[in-house]
């Protein structure tokens, strides 16, 4: 190897070490805007810096999945013998994590929480700013309870849909419970929708953990990263990744809009009926299967019925408390 080559190899290693240091520092609590500016300057210095950083960051982000402690994905059948070949330190770590959360839960029970209840009427929206600066936006027909204590922040989403923008505090976990399922904040913005037995969590920023059972075993815990949408219905849990734009569309409700992408008229009616006392009824099965895409105001079913008459030649008949749509 020539001296020139030697220098280049050393440089590549050095750059990688620097990139790794940046990633390590960025994880720290005292990461500031000033440090962010320094990092950006370093990245702009050379494409080699950028490449090393993106490469290490991609792996380090993926390493979040290590928390799952078993291969991710629903319906996983563990290969025989995998449990015993799993490194011991990971199993120990798993036990630690579970114990911490189990401890927190039993403490909460002992202290008999004095919860505060917040509810919205059909068609209404409300934003709560909590004492720690976290924000919760309640969508239509939603009810949740908040219990803030010294070492814990517990929310119960009893009905409806809410968007959470959480100020992360390691010493005071933020936990949203829906029946026997929970979302545990790890520094995040996320949306939860609960329709009876179906629960859907969409993660926009940061990280959160989803537990699909009361005292979730590691295999029932999923770490969510941005774009992840987890849906739990009955016993089934499925995880999908969506593009940022698609996710933002789902959150149109935060500005009073309903965003539809290839939605059937049956779906559209169901959505509208969450927001309005006057219920839309699609009385014709063939009409119910027609699909539309677009953005419509949630509190104005008229916008939809006009579309139905204009584009699909459907007949709209207002009746007592409902609007019936037929061919």
């Amino acid at each position: 190897m020539s001296a020139d080559d030697l220098r280049r190899v050393r440089n590549a290693r050095e750059i990688q070490a620097e990139a790794a240091s940046w990633i390590e520092v960025r994880d720290c609590e005292d990461w500031s805007c000033a440090r962010q500016a320094e990092l950006e300057a370093w990245l702009a210095q050379s494409p080699a810096h950028l490449v090393a950083f993106l490469r290490a960051e991609a792996v380090w982000q993926r390493a979040d999945r290590l928390r799952a402690l078993s291969p991710p994905g629903p319906m996983m059948v563990p290969p025989s013998g995998s449990a015993s070949s799993k490194p011991t330190y990971l199993r120990v770590a798993a036990a630690l994590v579970v114990m911490c959360f189990a401890g927190a839960a039993s403490l909460a029970l002992l202290q008999a929480p004095k919860d505060k209840t917040y509810s919205t009427a059909i068609g209404a929206r409300q934003t709560l700013t909590l004492s720690d600066g976290s924000k919760i936006e309640l969508n239509t027909n939603t009810s949740l309870r908040v219990a803030y204590k010294k070492g814990s922040r517990n929310i119960w989403l009893d009905r409806g849909e809410a968007f959470f923008d959480v100020k992360h505090d390691e010493a005071r976990p933020f936990v949203v419970t829906m029946g026997n399922r929970r979302v545990i904040d790890l520094g995040t913005k996320f949306n939860i929708r609960r329709d009876d037995a179906r629960i859907q969590v969409a993660l926009l920023e940061g990280k959160a953990r989803f537990d699909s059972a009361q005292n979730a075993k590691p295999s029932q815990q999923t770490i969510l990263t941005p774009g992840d949408v987890i849906t739990a219905t009955g016993q089934a849990v499925s995880l999908k990744r969506k593009a940022a734009a698609e996710l933002a569309g789902q959150l149109g409700w935060r500005t009073g809009m309903l965003v539809f992408e290839q939605a059937t008229l049956a779906d559209v009616a169901r959505e509208y009926n969450r927001y309005n006392r006057t219920q839309l009824v699609i009385a014709d099965p063939a009409a119910a299967r027609l699909t539309i895409s677009g953005t419509l105001p949630a509190n104005d079913p008229g916008a939809f019925t006009r579309l139905a008459t204009k584009f699909f030649n459907l007949t709209v008949k207002p009746r007592e408390g409902e609007i019936v749509i037929t061919r």
Partner: protein, 176 residues
């Protein structure tokens, strides 16, 4: 083309090619110790070119860069035998190989991460597990390991760098 778009393209389409790229370079270049450096070179050239225009087919684009780089290096080293550069076609680089679906990829990632983690030296690995799995701060890790915070920061940074290399190295057990 915005920098953010190029970076996103790089992470999404170029980085996953690293294991295949390493295989190709290792096959064509005798000196194992150069491979990491050459990979880095290919990536830098790819990202620079993409800032002008993001290529339609990423895989052939990246491997063409690698091939040119190999040829230039051979010239510089005054090695006459250009045949040393493995023929791209004979190396069977499928341009349109579909990516595995997301859940399969997540599972593969998880296994690769486990393997990579197991290869780390003990102290680095302990620090990485405490940070990633237990979510501990640098201070808390330092307390548990009985080390200075600065030492923990070094262990973590070394762990991150090594994890990155091992994750992208698909050889069984890997090279030293």
């Amino acid at each position: 083309m915005s920098r953010a778009e190029v970076n996103a393209w790089f992470v999404r389409e170029v980085l996953p090619l690293e294991a295949a790229l390493q295989r190709y370079l290792r096959h064509s270049w005798r000196s194992e110790s150069d491979v990491g450096d050459m990979c880095q070179d290919v990536f830098v050239r790819a990202i620079e070119a993409a800032r002008k225009e993001i290529p339609h087919a990423t895989k052939p684009f990246v491997f063409a860069i690698a091939r040119n780089l190999l040829i230039n290096r051979l010239h510089r080293k005054q090695i006459v035998s250009i045949e040393a550069v493995a023929d791209l076609d004979s190396f069977a680089i499928a341009a349109d190989e579909p990516l595995p679906d997301r859940s399969v990829m997540a599972r593969q990632d998880w296994r690769k991460l486990q393997t990579a983690l197991a290869r780390l030296p003990e102290r680095w690995r302990d620090a990485v597990v405490m940070r990633k799995v237990e979510g501990l701060s640098r201070k808390e890790i330092a307390r548990r390991m009985g080390l200075a915070e600065a030492t923990v920061a070094q262990h973590l940074a070394s762990g991150i760098a090594a994890l990155t290399d091992y994750f992208n190295d698909d050889r069984e057990g890997g090279a030293p």
